[in-house]
């Protein structure tokens, strides 16, 4: 028995050593293979804009995944309602927790933070390995930055990250997500416009989700996040709107969406939209059930403008938000 324990321990120590060595190499050396024009490189521009607009009057910070990047016309929001818009939407794989943690140091009094996460993000606060790659390879920050932003989900993400990086170590140039998407496809406010006017390559309809997988801890974390920022910046406002979602996908996930809406309504935030208002027909979508084409984007922006105007009017009159 002792012999077995010793042999197994030695073998596991060898394995752990190899794994730790590989992980260290991956974390210590930012990838050289990512082209500057990679889609996820746009995160740098988004964070830079977030930093540069600190203190700007009537600032609107949009936090969510790629539904915000593809399906919103921030220029129109700026033009018609006078907002200084920062669209942080890039990739739901980053995780809502990571996007919120990134925005936290830059929120100021007077800012309006609109949370528009994809519905799936309410099952997975941590996101996937993208957040490690964004930190190490895009932002070229040390691994300690990961620790500062919370340890949630790190072991799983680290394994996926090491796999991804190891497979690409010997490649000259590769892309993060989709080769057809580019950093240069974003406008200065953070909207992706590279897909506008292109025909849809088709997309998968989202399948039903088991409501039991909805994670109540995410709503508690959101609540703590809002409370913490409001303690420091009482004049900051937090709103919730909903992502654009393709009709059949919406119907498949209706129970899930209703459960999300019920939970969000309990938070200390103003819910300015109803999920149903952002349910669009399939012909308005581009390459995913969350990514609208030009016409869809126009309709979605109009609806958000209307919701925000209603909220502002209510606030001026000293009334609570109507809610959905």
């Amino acid at each position: 028995m002792r012999r077995f324990i010793v042999q197994i321990s030695l073998f596991l120590a060898l394995l752990l050593g190899l794994a730790a060595g590989l992980a260290t190499v991956c974390l210590a050396f930012p990838a050289r293979f990512l082209p500057d024009d990679d889609y996820n490189m746009a995160w740098l521009d988004k964070v830079r804009r977030l930093e540069a607009t600190c203190g700007a009057p009537q600032r609107l910070i949009l936090i969510g995944g790629s539904n915000l990047a593809f399906s919103l016309d921030s220029e129109r929001l700026a033009r018609e309602a006078g907002w200084t818009v920062v669209n942080l939407g890039l990739n739901a794989g980053l995780g809502l927790g990571y996007a919120l943690a990134t925005a936290e140091p830059y929120v100021r009094d007077g800012d309006v933070v609109v949370l528009v996460p994809e519905y799936g993000q309410f099952a997975d606060w941590d996101g996937d390995f993208n957040r490690i790659a964004i930190t190490i390879d895009v932002q070229k920050q040390p691994a300690s930055a990961l620790y500062r932003r919370g340890m949630y989900g790190l072991p799983d993400q680290l394994a996926e990250y090491v796999k991804w990086k190891s497979f690409n170590l010997f490649r000259r140039k590769t892309v993060f997500t989709d080769a057809t998407l580019r950093r240069s496809g974003f406008n200065r406010l953070g909207d992706y416009v590279g897909h506008l006017g292109k025909p849809s390559p088709g997309f998968e309809v989202a399948r039903a989700k088991d409501v039991a997988r909805l994670d109540p801890a995410i709503f508690r974390a959101l609540s703590r996040y809002v409370a913490a920022i409001k303690t420091r910046h009482p004049q900051a406002s937090f709103l919730v709107s909903y992502p654009s979602f393709e009709a059949r996908s919406f119907d498949n996930q209706r129970a899930w969406i209703e459960a999300v809406a019920r939970e969000l309504a309990r938070l200390d935030v103003d819910v300015v939209s109803a999920p149903e208002d952002y349910r669009f027909e399939a012909e308005l979508f581009y390459d995913s059930a969350y990514h609208l084409n030009a016409e869809g984007r126009r309709l979605r922006t109009e609806r958000l403008l209307r919701d925000l105007a209603k909220w502002q009017a209510g606030r001026r009159a000293g009334l609570p938000a109507d809610g959905p």
Binding site: M1, R3, F11, L15, A159, F167
Partner: protein
């Protein structure tokens, strides 16, 4: 709890340490630990499943004790025990199937009865442990084993976690005595068990899970796949189901050896078979021998006139198909195998190949190679029924496969997008080569080089392959649904 999950990585060493540590002082403690660990393992899916396994075990155990007291009407007791156990299995597995068939027949007769389809959740592994309990009852009835008085050992026999959810379906005569006798730790057994587990994980996580990507992309595609693409899809499915199920069996058997308990062999390199009869001596051995002993032999087996032998053969193949699930496709799968087995039976050639192929040689002869290829082709054809959602689709697929239209280039180039997409073909090559050279042994990794450094390098390489090439979303084992 899945074998290929993080909780199992914590669970197994913990149970191992308790089993050979504090619990090793008494047999009863070890058995109690096995029961507790098995119930945790099983309850991980849904704690309500525990009610069925516990109630079924206690019922079977109690009837065994009744037999021990020489109760009159033994035959009645055995029927009652089997009917209750098989009735529960039938309710969960086949209820909706029979409702469907009833509605269909009624509609054909011009009636429109109203019957609700039940929302029944099939408890994981119920087919496996039910068969194990039934075998105990019948063996006790036949006086092949003594009914046990040790309730804890009996609960451990039914719920033993390595083989609980997907077999091998153990016989009381093999497994129960092992729970009644003291166990000693055996270094060689434990090391070989670890190797077998490693090989099982490779088969499941590298070969089966990556083949599943290919098979599903082709066979679940919305567009109608061409004949060539279907051949490829069914080929990948054949490897997927073998890697998945034999991988599970290897993990189960290897894991069990860590606890000093030997489980029966479930796969013996079936794709190297030279005819269908040999295939069935090598594929899912625990199920085919179960049906042989508890269905084929009682029906008269092969010691009766040819028409009855044919009837008996069809009976076990059809029941075996139906055991897999409540769908006509599984019955058709059994029927195809029965039809291919029939000529061998009629001409008395069904026991021609009982040895290992090319036993004394490194490579097969051209005739053996042809026979293996022919058998594999027949097996592929049968898998088409097994994999298709319904009979109509299966026949359509076979029609297209026979038409021989070339593969869909766009579909294949879509699949071959990265280094990772080569995991399935690469994994298959490694699997076939390893199992070919290990075909005289119990599993692919049983014979390894004598030098420790080389052995450890092989283990590390396999673990690296599993880490790098297993899909990020771990998949359940296919046979859990049966």
């Amino acid at each position: 709890m899945l074998f290929n999950s993080i909780p199992f990585l914590v669970f197994l060493p913990l149970v191992f340490a308790l089993y050979w540590g504090p619990a090793s002082k008494s047999l009863r403690r070890q058995n109690l630990l096995v029961v507790a660990a098995s119930y945790v393992f099983y309850g991980w899916w849904d704690w309500r499943f525990l009610l069925f396994i516990a109630a079924g075990s206690l019922w079977t155990y109690a009837l065994g004790l009744a037999d021990l007291r020489g109760a009159r009407g033994r035959k009645r007791w055995v029927w009652l025990s089997c009917l209750v156990n098989l009735g529960i299995l039938g309710y969960f597995k086949y209820c909706n199937f029979f409702i469907d068939q009833f509605l269909w027949m009624a509609s054909r007769l011009g009636c429109a009865p109203h019957a609700a389809i039940l929302q029944v959740v099939l408890p994981v592994g119920i087919s496996f442990y039910t068969f194990q309990m039934v075998s105990y009852t019948i063996d006790v009835y036949r006086r092949e084993i003594e009914p046990t008085k040790d309730g804890v050992a009996f609960l451990a026999f039914v719920a033993y976690f390595p083989q609980l959810v997907a077999g091998p379906i153990e016989r009381a005569a093999n497994l129960l005595p092992q729970f009644l006798a003291p166990r000693k730790f055996d270094y060689a057994q434990a090391v070989d068990g670890c190797r077998q587990m490693l090989w099982g994980f490779f088969k499941k996580m590298v070969v089966a899970d990556n083949c599943a990507v290919w098979a599903n992309s082709i066979l679940n595609a919305g567009a109608e796949p061409s004949g060539g693409a279907l051949w490829l899809g069914i080929f990948f499915f054949a490897i997927q189901i073998y890697g998945d199920f034999s991988g599970y069996s290897d993990i189960a058997i290897g894991c069990s050896r860590l606890f000093g308990i030997r489980l029966m062999r479930n796969f013996a390199f079936p794709y190297f078979s030279r005819d269908i009869a040999e295939f069935w001596r090598r594929w899912h051995i625990s199920l085919s021998t179960w049906f042989r002993d508890y269905l084929y032999v009682p029906l008269g087996g092969s010691r009766c006139a040819m028409p009855l032998r044919i009837r008996n053969t069809f009976a076990i193949f059809l029941v075996s198909g139906f055991w897999h699930g409540a769908n006509w496709t599984f019955i058709a799968w059994g029927l195809v195998h029965a039809c291919c087995f029939l000529p061998l039976l009629v001409f008395g050639r069904n026991r021609k190949h009982t040895d290992v192929v090319a036993a004394a040689r490194a490579w097969p002869s051209p005739a053996e190679l042809l026979r293996m290829a022919g058998t594999f082709l027949v097996v592929l054809l049968a898998w088409t029924f097994f994999r298709a959602p319904d009979i109509r689709t299966a026949l359509d697929w076979i029609w297209r496969m026979a038409s021989g239209a070339p593969g869909q280039g766009a579909l294949l180039s879509g699949l071959l997008t990265s280094v990772k997409s080569l995991a399935a073909p690469g994994g298959i090559c490694l699997l076939v080569a390893t199992e070919w050279f290990g075909r005289r042994h119990a599993h692919g990794l049983q014979r390894l080089p004598g030098r420790k450094a080389l052995r450890w390098a092989i283990y590390c390489a396999l673990i690296a392959l599993i880490f790098f090439f297993s899909p990020s979303q771990s998949r359940e084992f296919i046979y859990f649904q049966f």
